[in-house]
Symmetry: C2
């Protein structure tokens, strides 16, 4: 079994993913928020790669049941109902709704991987559920980290390393690339205390400055959700509701 | 003092480097070869970002004292006098000559950083010389790793981490980005045995397959050279011959 990690979406072309099985990771906060929203009963999430497209898509396509959500540079976007904090995506607010979702790094990573045959959304919140699902598929895997403004982010790298380690525990040694080896090393260094890790990363520090420390605490919650979001025909849904 | 590491040149724009002090690392093998050639008395090296430009530049600009050197995808380029192995750049062959040099990843990284106010070339061979020179400059620093086909490479990341660690030993805690933290962790994991590291990296394995294991041994030679190559007006020269 071959496994490649990409620590930033910029470094790989979208056509690379054609026919592949791919996992997207953006711990702070897009994939943590997506997993939460899907666990809380959202009908579907439409990830988009630009704010302009979010506004365009939301205009009537899904009727009155559509919400705009996301952030640009950590801030809620003007005219959007929801930001990028998982706490905004409660059952009461989003159950049964369609959400058109944009984030600075996360949804761009999903867009980059859109030609994958199978595409799943991972965070610390649902990492064992994702690992078990990949184990059941028994296929080669690409893991793409959203990173931050095209650079790697420690939190995404550690999450990728944890996922690779879980797969290696099951499959034994895998054929992995240098970035996967780097991710495992970062996981071995920081994986025992995710909340402390999130507080020292570039993105974590900016979120704390903007009043989102509670988001860091929540996003460090290991395996609190059992949801496997998958992407198909332009939307994200719950795997078992396929 | 602020220090940023970029684990791949793709993720940053060339204008970012305007006015900065920058170190370029491509352990296998461009920066190891450049340091060797400059230590062996080459007059100057003209790093170019494309083979076509290498051929164009070499045509008469430097008269009969010009050699073409480099590689594309590990192989010597047709019509080029020299490849990318440091063993080809002996004193007898290159002393006093100008070399127009191209490599798949390394010279692209140098080209990306060309607007830097000061630009230096680092490998394991001259890492302490580079660290001491940066310490004498006492300035903010950018470290750009050539990586491999836009992804990080373990050997460049470990070399960057070693350089950051040397600077931290002198200056105390620096303000560093996530990629610099990742590089330090990779250095702590692999830094004690560079030759073994080079043998397990993606690029190292391919070089071994192509018969270049001796190059790996040579490129792992810590501080065997005291040369600080710097870039100015389109050419690389020895710092102390400025």
């Amino acid at each position: 079994m071959k496994l490649n990690v990409f620590l930033s979406p910029l470094i790989v072309d979208e056509l690379y993913f054609t026919g592949k099985t791919t996992v997207v990771i953006d711990v702070l906060r897009a994939t943590s928020t997506i997993v939460t929203a899907i666990n809380n009963g959202v009908k579907e999430i439409v990830p988009v790669a630009s704010v302009e497209f979010a506004v365009k898509v939301s205009g009537g396509m899904f009727g009155g049941q559509t919400l705009l959500g996301g952030e640009r540079n950590t801030k809620k976007i003007e005219g959007f109902a929801l930001g990028n904090s998982p706490f905004e995506y409660s059952k009461e607010i989003i159950e049964g709704k369609s959400i058109v979702f944009y984030s600075t790094n996360g949804t761009k990573a999903i867009a980059k991987a859109k030609f994958s045959e199978q595409l799943f959304i991972c965070s610390f919140l649902n990492i064992t559920a994702i690992a078990n699902h990949i184990i059941s598929l028994n296929t080669d895997l690409e893991i793409i980290c959203a990173g931050r403004y095209n650079c790697l982010s420690l939190e995404d790298s550690v999450c990728a390393g944890m996922l690779v380690s879980k797969l290696q525990e099951h499959f034994g040694d895998l054929e992995i690339n240098d970035s996967a080896k780097a991710a495992i090393i970062m996981y071995e260094k920081f994986g025992s205390d995710i909340f402390s890790l999130l507080q020292i990363t570039d993105h974590g520090k900016i979120l704390i400055e903007n009043g989102f420390e509670a988001d860091l605490q929540y996003c460090s919650g290991l395996d609190i959700l059992d949801t496997v979001p998958y992407y198909s025909n332009g939307v994200l849904k719950k795997q078992n509701s396929k």
